[in-house]
Amino acid sequence: MEWRRSYGRAPKMIYLEANFVQFKEELLPKEGNKALLTFPFLHIYWTDCCDTEVYKASVKEDMQRWQGVLRLHGSVDWLIVVVESDNKKKNKTNILPRTSIVDKIRNDFCNKQSDRCVALSDPLKESSRSQESWSSFLTKLRTLLLMSFTRNLGRFEDEMRTLREKRTEPGWSFCDYFMVQEELAFVFEMLQQFEDALVQYDELDALFTQYVLNFGAGDGANWLGSFCQPVRSWNGLLLRRPIDMEKRDLIQRGEASLLDLRSYLFSRQCTLLIFLQRPWEVTARALELLHNCVQELRLLEVSVVSGALDCWVFLSCLEVLHRIEGCCDRSQLEANFSHTVGLWTYATEKLKSLGDLCGLVSENGPNSEDLNKTVDLLAGLGAERPETANSLQSPYKKLKEALSSVEAFEKHYLELSHAAMEMYRAIGRLRSARLVGKSLAEFYMRKGDPQSAENFLLDSLKSYVSESWSLPLTHTRKQIAECQKQLQKMDEYPSHISDHIYLQTSALLASDANLSDEERKHFCQEILTFASQTAESKGQQKDPCVALSMSSFTQLHELRFRPASALVHVGAVLQLELHLCSLMPVPVRVEQLAASVHFAGEQPGTTAQKRAAQNPDGTVTFPAASPVSASPALELCEIQEHSPSDNALNTAGVVCKNMHLLMRRHDSTTSLDTPITAPSALAMDDGAQMLKAHDVTLLPGNNSIVFTAPSQKPGTYTLRQLCATVGRVQFVLPHIYPVVQYEVYSQEPQLTIQPLTENLLAGLPQQVKFTILTGHYTVKKGDALQLSNTDSMPVLHSSKCTARILSSTGELVGESALSIQSSEKVTSISLPLTPPYHTLEFLLDVLCHIPSSPARVESEHLTNGQISHRARSRARFNSGMAIIDQKVVFSQQCVFSVWELRWSGVPPVSLQCVFLASFAPADAPDTALKPYSYEFAVERVSTLYSVRAEIRPAAGEQHCRTGTLCRLEVSLTRLTEPNDTDRSDEEFSETEGLRTSRLMYEVIDNHSNWAVCGKSSGVVSMPVAAMATHKVQMEIMPLFAGQLPFPNIRVFKYLPHHASVVIQPDTDSCLENDSLSVLDKALEDQADTASLRSRGSVQSLGEQQPRGVPMPKRQAFGPGQVFNGTQGRQVLVLPGTDHHVLEVNVT
C-alpha cells in the first residue's frame, strides 16, 4: 500500500503486515513502551445489532466501556463496524430503524469523525451494494491502520530523539540508545526501506565514533568504560547471518567490547548494503572500518595481545572478500579489483607481520616463545563458527593453517601477495604492485633466497630511477647490494659477472649523497678491497679486470686545452687538463688514468664544426649527468673532401659523429645496473693513441689532471673514452660527449714579399719586407734565400740588415744580422738558424726604375691616332709620350711613370688624355700582347670669383641669439679679368656701356640651423673687371645656440632666356622669385651641384631647344672656379630668451 508521511517525505510503497487478535485489555501498550511493533494498532468493534431496543439495552454501554478502556490507554485508533444482514430486514418493512442504528451509533460515538463507523452489508450476498460496502470497508480499514501506524512511528521517533538529547547526562548509556534506534532500523527493514534502515545504523556509527574521538580529546563518557575492556576474542567479522544475535545480546547487556560493537554494526550495514546491491561500498567501508578500529583501540588505550589485531584484521578482510565473492560473479569482481585490492593487500601485510611475530619467516623456523605466541593467538580465535565450519576455504581455517607451519605460511603468504600484485597490475597500479613486490623481496631475503628477491628489487628500482625518487632509490639499491652480496657468495653466475654487478651497485652507493658517510665509506671500501685482492687469490684465469661505468665513480666536469685554440703544429706541446669530480667519500689512489684518442687523418671541413663544442677559451664543459639520461641527440655534421690538387669538392656527405654512442645505448638499455661490456670497449678504438697519467690520487670533490697530448702526426684527434684503473677495477667512461677534438697540422715553408708603402714608386729606393714562415722546416746553418734579380728592380745592397725571428705565437725570439751577397743575376741571403713554425722577417731596399728604350714608331703612331680622336684639345701630338716597357711585374707591385706637360700656347680648359699599355703574362711572353687603355682628363683650373660673408647680430646686440633675426651680408668679388677663352662659357651683357656678367647667388642651409627669412636668393650683375665686388644683405635667424656654421652660399652663372631681353639688376624680387622658383625646385629635388651642372650643360646647347616658354637658366661654375670663403666658418649664437612666438617683418 502507499505510505504518505509528514514533513513532505516522499510517498513510498511499503508492505505492512497485520493480523487480528481478540481484544484484551492487557494487550494494550503500557506507559513508556519502547517496542514499536507487536501491539494492537487499531481496535475494531463488530456488531450485528439492528434493533434499536437491543442497542439501547446492551450494545451501547458495551461500546462505551470499550471506548473508555481505549481512551484510558490513549489510543485513538478504533473503528466500529455494523454488519447488516437482510434476513432480519424481511419482517421490518420500513427502513427507518435500520438506518437509525448506524446513525445512532454515529452521533453517539463518532460525533465529528463520522468515518469511524462503517456499515457492512452481508458479505455472503452477491449484490453490488455488499460489494462496494466491502471495498469501502477495506480501504477504510487500510487507511486507518496506516494512520495509526504512522502516528505510533512518529511518537517513537520523538521519544528516540529526546533520548538522544539526553546523551550528555550521566546515566545515559549508548547501548540502550543503540537498541532503541535499532528498533527503528528493524521497522524500516521490515517495511523494506533499507535506505532508511541503513541511515539509522550510520547515525549510530557516527555517534559512537564521535564519542571515541571526544574521549581521545580528553572528555570520556563513563559508559565508554565497557568498551575499553581488553580484547579477549578476535575472530574477525561475521557477515553470514542477517543478524548476529549473540553480539546483539552482548550489546544489549552492555558487555560488548569495541570490536563486538563494531563488528555487529558493520555486519548489519553490510547486510543492508548488499540488499541495496552496493557491494563495492561494503569493501570500501570495510577497509575504513578496519583502519578505524585499529586507531580507536589505540586511542582508547585498550590492551590487546600483540598480533591479536592482525588476526582480527586478517580474518575480517578475508570474510568481507568472501562475502562479496558470494554475492557477485567473476566478471564483476574483475571489473572491480580497484575496490577489493585494498583488502587483499591489507590482509597480506597483516599475515606478514603475523609471520614475523611467530617467527615463521626466519630461515630457522619458530622458536619456543614464538610457538607460545602462536598458541595464544589461536586461542583468541575461539572455535570456528558454525556457518563456516563446513566450508574448507574459510578465513578461519586459512589463518590456523598459515600459522601452523613455516611452509604453510609461505604458501599462503605468497598466494596472497601474488594475488594482490596481479590485481594491482590488472588495474594498472604498477607502483603499488612494485611496493608489494618489494615486501615480497624482503620476505625472500629473510628466507635466504636472494635470487627471487633480486628481480623484484630490480623491477622496483627501475621505476624509482625512471622517476628519480632518490630516497627510495637509495634504499632499494642498498637492499639490492645486500642481496647481490649474497648472490656473490653462492656462485650462481660466473663469479666475474656477479662481482661486476655487486661492485657496480656499491660504486653507485658509495657515491650516493643520501647515505651517511659511514655507509658510503663501507661500500667504497668494498670496492677497494676487491680491487686490491689479486686475480690469483680469487683463483680465476679469465679477464681479472672488472670494468664499471665511471659515472658512479667520478664525473668529468670540464676539459681545458692549452693552447686554447686546440690547434697546434706537428710536434708542439698540447696540454689538456681534465677537471674530475670524485664522488667517492675517501681519497682514491688511481694507478692509471687513461684517455683513449681516436686519430683521423687531415680532413678539411671537419675542423669547422669541431669548434661548436669547444668554447673559444679552449674549455669543454660537460653537462652534469641528469637523473634521467635521455639518449643524446644524434649529432650530424657535414664532411667535405676536397681533392688535394685543385681544391675542388670531391665528395660531400653527412656523418653521425656520435654513432658509437647511440649504438651502445641500444644494446645496454639500463646502463645503471646491468654490466656494460666495457672491458672490450676500452680495448677497441684503434687503441694506438692513449693519454696516460699514473698514480693519481683523486680526493673527494674536484681534481684536475693534466695530460700532454700526442702531436706527431698531422690530423684530427678525438677523445673517445676515459678509463681509471684501480687495481683490478677499471672505471670506464665509454664515450666522452660532447665530442672533444684537437688538431695537429703541418705546414710548408713560405716566403712573402711586400712593399712597405702600398705602391712602389719608380726611381727611388724603397724598403720591401720579406717574411719567411719556416713551417715544419728547421733553418739550418748555411741555408740561404736566393732571389733572382731583374734589372727593372735590383736589390740594393744595404750595409746593415737584421732579421727578426718570431715564434708562432708572435713574440720576438731573437734578432740576427743577415749577410747578403748579390751577383748581377742572383742575390742570396744567408738565413739565421730558425726553429720550425717560426717566422723570419727582414727588410731590403729595392729600387725599381723604368729602363729607357727607343720609342717604337708604330706604337707612337698608334698613340697619335688615339689622341687625334680627342677633338677640341690643343695639345701637341708627340708631347712627351712615354712608352713604358716593364719586363716583369710582381704581384702587388706598382709602376709609376712621370710626365710633364708644357704648353706652347694658351692652355685649354681641359685636356683629354688616354693611357695605353700592352701586356702579356710573364710565363707566356710569346702570346700576343693584350692592350689596356685608361682615359683621363687634365682640367685647367682658375678661380674667377670669391665669396665672403658676415653675420651680424641684430642692432643693439653684440651676439646673435636664437630666435632673433641677424643680418647676413654676402659679398661677391670677381678676381680676374676674363680672357676671351672664357667667353665660351660665360655670358656677358652690355648695360649702360659696361660689360656685366650676371651671377645668381643663393643662401640655403641644409643643416637648418638657420631660418632664412624672406628672399633667399637673387641675381646680381657683375661688372667685368677685376676686383669688382657686389654686396647682398638678407635676414636670417639662428634656431640654436652654440657655434653655428654659416649657411651655404652658392653662386651660379645666370643665363637669361634671351640675351637681348634687358633685365635690370634691381628689378622687384617677384620676377626673380618667379624665375628662381624653378631653380629652387631643381635645388630641392637634386641638391648636389654635379647633377645641376649636367643639367646646366644640357641647357647650354640652348639652340636645339624647341622655342617654348623662354626660360632663364643657371649654370654652376666648374670646380674651383669659385672660392667660397664662408665654408667652415662659424658664428657664436647665444640661447635666446625663450619667448616662443615672434613676429618677423621682411621687406
Binding site: 607502483r431 622517476e467 632518490s470 630516497l471
Partner: protein, 148 residues
C-alpha cells in the same frame, strides 16, 4: 586543537611534476619516518593517476582539482590534488590526527597551489627542477606547524 599522542607535525607534503612524476618537493616532519613516507607518496601517485583519468572521463573539463582522500592506510591518510598542468600535490596526514577535516585539507592544498604558482613565476626557477625556494619552504613549514 591538538589531540593526544599525535606526535607534532605528522603532516607530510609531496609535490610531483607533470607527466613524469619527478618529485619536485618533498617535505616531511618529523624526518624519521621519511623513507616510509616517500614510499607512500610514490605509491599514491597510482591512485592520483587513476583518479585523473577517471575524473577526466566523468566530468570532462569542469574539473575539481582536489581529489580528496586517495587511500587510507592503517596509520596514514593520503590526500591528493592535481593542477590542470598535471602537477600533483599529495598531503599525508597521520590518521590519528583528527583535527584535519576535508575542508582544512582543501584549503591547505589551495594555499600550496598558490605559493607553488609563485615559485613557478620566479624567472630563475626553471620548471622541472626540485624546488629550493626559501619563501616556499617557510610557507610550507608554517602550514605544517599549524596543521598539527
Amino acid at each position: 586543537m591538538t589531540t593526544r599522542d599525535v606526535p607534532l607535525g605528522t603532516v607530510q607534503i609531496g609535490i610531483c611534476s607533470g607527466h613524469v612524476n619527478y618529485p619536485l618537493y618533498i617535505r616531511s616532519v618529523p624526518t624519521q619516518g621519511e623513507l616510509k613516507f616517500h614510499y607512500t607518496v610514490h605509491t599514491s601517485l597510482d591512485v592520483v593517476e587513476e583518479k585523473i583519468s577517471g575524473v577526466g572521463k566523468a566530468l570532462g573539463d569542469q574539473r575539481e582539482l582536489y581529489l580528496g582522500l586517495l587511500y587510507p592506510t592503517e596509520d596514514y591518510k593520503v590526500y591528493g590534488y592535481v593542477t590542470n598542468s598535471k602537477v600533483k600535490f599529495v598531503i599525508v596526514v597521520d590518521s590519528s590526527n583528527t583535527s584535519l577535516r576535508d575542508n582544512e585539507i582543501r584549503s591547505m592544498f589551495r594555499k600550496l597551489h598558490n605559493s607553488f604558482t609563485d615559485v613557478m613565476c620566479n624567472p630563475f626557477y626553471n620548471p622541472g627542477d626540485p624546488i629550493q625556494s626559501k619563501a616556499f619552504d617557510s610557507i610550507v613549514s608554517a602550514m605544517m606547524v599549524q596543521a598539527c
